[in-house]
Amino acid sequence: MKKLSFLLLLLLSCTAVFAQGDPSVEMDDALRSSGKIYVVVTTICIIFVGLAIYLFSIDRRLKKIEKGK
């Protein structure tokens, strides 16, 4: 599980490389429309989902410890 999520993280990290194109070329994708606000929305969503997953994992670890007692 930990390895899998790490792999996913590494795979996702290369999306940043693809995002760096020629600035003069306006690509017509959804994330660039209306002042690029969707980029901000996605960023916040990623952070929040990450935090939520983190909280769930703490919860699960705690459950394991509680059962071990």
Partner: protein, 224 residues
């Protein structure tokens, strides 16, 4: 207390907040002078206070329960609720300061709302200091439970009542209408209410995690 070990309400809380991240940032909002797009802060700044309020209410409940039963667990639950509440309190203060900088002009303009929020913050910090200054466990639990029960109404008066009786820049104060009066239209409610509910449950969730860790620590200390 089976409730705190269940998962469904945590999932609901996460989904509620997650939905507000999208609706809150993308749905149309009323265009108002000075506020502009910062009106969207309503979905994130106000729920911090709601989360704080939720865990503080739970904390008072457990303080009363401690005084009734003398069960140490209730005391631990009360402390961890206050600890989590202070985290959300700090978020509320900091986001409020940032919002104030771009609407009122200063991070801290000595506004009655800001000042009394700061005083109430110290009030709750004093609760933690008071706890740490008493070594004897039962005495500590009893005194801090009583302090907590009194601190709560004073906090309510300081944050939600006194600033409204004087002139304040904060909405809802001194003839300065709250958002609900004129611009919390139905479009904003779609994001606002889920945010209030979702963040309350997330605050509660963090408090339960802290409480469960505290229980284990407490058990370990008792054996040794």
């Amino acid at each position: 207390m089976k409730f705190i070990y269940q998962t469904w309400w945590k999932v609901v809380a996460v989904l509620l907040v997650f939905s507000t991240l999208i609706t809150g940032l993308l749905l149309p909002v009323p265009t108002l002078p000075i506020l502009h797009e910062t009106i969207r802060n309503l979905y994130f700044h106000v729920p911090m206070w709601m989360g704080m309020l939720t865990v503080f209410v739970v904390s008072v409940y457990f303080s009363i329960m401690y005084l009734r039963t003398g069960d140490e667990k209730h005391d631990l639950a009360a402390v961890e609720c206050v600890n989590t509440g202070l985290l959300f309190y700090s978020f509320g203060l900091l986001t409020g300061m940032l919002w104030a900088k771009y609407t009122w002009g200063e991070f801290w303009s000595g506004d009655p709302k800001q000042n009394s929020a700061a005083i109430a913050f110290l009030l709750y910090c004093a609760y933690l200091v008071l706890r740490n200054s008493i070594d004897e466990e039962q005495k500590r639990a009893k005194i801090s439970a009583i302090y907590n029960i009194f601190a709560f109404p004073i906090m309510i008066v300081l944050i939600f009542i006194l600033p409204r009786m004087t002139d304040s820049l904060h909405p809802g104060s001194g003839g300065n209408p709250a958002f609900g009066r004129y611009d919390l239209d139905n479009g904003m409610k779609i994001a606002f209410y889920p945010a209030m509910l979702g963040w309350s449950f997330i605050a509660l969730w963090i408090a339960t995690i802290r409480y469960r860790i505290r229980l284990i620590e407490n058990k370990r200390n008792a054996i040794n």
